[in-house]
């Protein structure tokens, strides 16, 4: 009998091409996702060395980071010259090297981490990489997925492999049920709050437990998406019926006999009884509240019912970091989080730009208006999410409430396109990073779930979404 293995061990073992004596491995990469910001230098490197893309059929590219999301983009060229050069470079590189490509004009275009799963490129048991840290998203399928730098992008393009050493195994278990108003976003933020942004460094996390099992694929993607914010290399969730159901019938999912063969293998992808984890973190589902971030690190997270903390309540280097964060965010220690006024709301990103996220926000917004003077936008994660939301009538709910209804892209998640906060503006955002300047120079970001973002748009301040939920929703 072989020793019991974790899910991570199993996927790793299935992809080792070569192992050196010191444990450094050459790992085969099943899917390589590419976007315009971190790839130009890699393609340039290939050209300079006279190399080809080894597996163009396993390489998928889509521009997302700096494309405009305003409706006029369909008609014209990108106004910002540098952005245009990057998108043009991707167009050209995709064509020259013969890789799969979804240009801006394609309805399937969107954020790379939304497009991959949507098109069935991401499948259980795969290794998936992308020159983007939120590649962890794909771990929701039980795929080993992580971000890489541009040198590694070039390495994967040229060799379809990565030089890797194995990480340690961490188990994050969320037991029991979630309370009403608590979502996948709250889970993932609560975990980071508990472990810290460096808590996962050196680990691959496997999320498990009833509360995780109960999540849809959209919710699982939200959880894994932010594994990187906890410092982990990747997050994983074992595939199950929910996963197979989601994958089945997608354009690039296996069909017929291959589907059966794939399914047989996928069903072996779970952590064996008694397998070793180097670290275990357990949270009770019912203890998790709707949360918000108050500071400039995703670990600066508190239940919405709490107050802005006193920096002196921290220890070590965190005291100064908290002081700096509170000053940057323009807050006062002891202030109630629900008293923080908001002027901008952003719903979108690879964390919360999927159909279920839009449904959750629309549910709160139905028949309501956003606060006077509020700037609020919804940026669907892909053209297909956008189309579906229009079909379901969600777009109308957003528009009637006063939201701008945008085209797909990363948008204000990192504000490389024109969607940015101005100095001092304060945003309730469904994205994943609240770093200084992330959404615009001196902009202030509070990370929240889509439902909480919708609630803040209505009231004009950070709000406990449960106060806006109808009896049936809270029952």
């Amino acid at each position: 009998m072989t020793a019991p293995k974790t899910l991570y061990d199993k996927i790793w073992d299935a992809h080792v091409v070569h192992e050196q004596e010191d444990g450094t491995c050459l790992l085969y990469i099943d899917r390589h996702l590419v976007h315009e910001v971190t790839s130009p230098q890699a393609f340039e490197g290939l050209r300079l060395a006279g190399r080809d893309v080894r597996a163009p059929d396993k390489t998928i590219a889509v521009p997302d980071h700096n494309v405009p999301t305003t409706l006029d983009r369909v008609s014209g060229v990108i106004a910002n010259e540098e952005s245009r050069i990057q998108v043009d470079a991707l167009d050209k590189n995709a064509k020259d090297f013969g890789i799969h490509y979804y240009p801006v004009s394609d309805v399937r275009q969107g954020i790379v981490h939304i497009v991959g799963p949507e098109q069935g490129w991401t499948l259980p048991g795969m290794t998936v990489v992308c020159g983007d840290s939120h590649t962890a998203t794909h771990g929701a399928f039980g795929a080993l997925a992580h971000g890489i730098g541009t040198s590694e992008v070039e390495h994967v393009l040229a060799t379809q492999t990565l030089i890797q050493k194995k990480s340690k195994n961490m188990k994050v278990e969320i037991t029991g049920k979630l309370k009403p108003g608590v979502t996948a976003k709250d889970i993932t933020l609560a975990v980071i709050g508990a472990t810290g942004t460096a808590g996962g460094t050196g680990y691959v996390i496997e999320y498990c437990g009833e509360a995780i099992r109960d999540l849809s694929m959209e919710g699982r993607m939200t959880v894994c998406n932010m594994a990187i914010e906890g410092g982990a290399r990747a997050g994983l969730i074992a595939p199950d019926e929910t996963t197979f159901e989601y994958v089945k019938g997608r354009p690039h999912a296996p069909k017929g006999a291959q589907w059966e063969a794939a399914l047989n293998w996928w069903k072996t992808l779970y952590t064996d009884e008694g397998a070793h984890f180097d670290k275990v973190v357990t949270l009770k589902g019912e203890d998790i509240e709707p949360v918000v971030t108050w500071g400039t690190s995703p670990e600066d997270v508190l239940p919405i019912t709490a107050n802005v903390p006193d920096p002196e309540s921290f220890s070590g280097g965190k005291v100064d970091a908290a002081k700096r964060a509170i000053e940057y965010m323009g807050l006062t220690p002891g202030q109630k989080l629900t008293d923080i006024e908001i002027d901008t709301v952003f719903i979108g990103s690879c964390t919360n730009g999927r159909i279920e996220d839009l449904r959750a926000a629309a549910e709160i917004l139905k028949g309501k208006k956003i606060k006077d003077g509020m700037r609020a936008m919804v940026v669907p994660g892909s053209g297909l999410v956008r189309a579906q939301a229009e079909e379901e009538g969600l777009a109308d709910i957003f528009k009637d409430a006063g939201f701008e209804w945008r085209l797909a892209g990363c948008s204000m998640c990192l504000a490389m396109n024109p969607d940015q906060l101005s100095e001092g503006e304060r945003c309730a955002s469904t994205s994943n990073r609240n770093f200084e300047g992330r959404q615009g120079y001196k902009g202030r970001t509070h990370l929240v779930s889509p439902a909480m973002a919708a609630a803040a748009a209505i009231t004009g301040h950070l709000t406990d979404v449960r106060e806006l939920m109808t009896e049936t929703e809270t029952a």
């Binding site: 470079a89 040198s151 291959q258 990073r433 200084e436």
Partner: protein
Amino acid sequence: MEKFEKLTGVAAPMPLVNIDTDMIIPKVFLKTIKRSGLGVNLFDEMRYDRQGNEIPGFVLNKPQYRNAEILVAGDNFGCGSSREHAPWAIADFGIKCVISTSFADIFYNNCFKNGILPIVMPQEVVDVLMEDAEKGSNARMTVDLENQVVTTSDGQEFPFEVDAFKKHCLLEGLDDIGLTMNNVKDIDAFESKLAQERPWV
């Protein structure tokens, strides 16, 4: 890639924790399609005001640290985005070694691909090195990769750990792709096996 062997230079202290890659190189500079020229924008938002004037209090603007080649930083350095523009900017500025109690994973790996040595030291040691760095340009620290030792300006020695393979590549200035190409037969074999066992990939 440039070799890294032994370095003696000025170390700049940045005790702040969780210095993320957005701080190291803000996103407005990611729109380049080149690797070079990012050094002037290293730590841009901390280093310059909105008019582009230097902020005198920022460490790399102080005369004694303008030519720093080593950075001693707070915990969890390089967290956030995977942008390799961060190590490109650091290297372009002239910094060849970063010392902290921990680094974010992707950033750590990216350093080695760009001839930068990231060194993880326990808190007590980082405290000593931070103090040494505070002394400014009269204090020159030495980083010896071959022997895996950091020496402070007053001669205190601290050994450090580094992955043997990564060390080898840095010492020799080896290019990863070239190395992997030596294993191309293994990749071919793996792909044939994959086509049999998991044809849907």
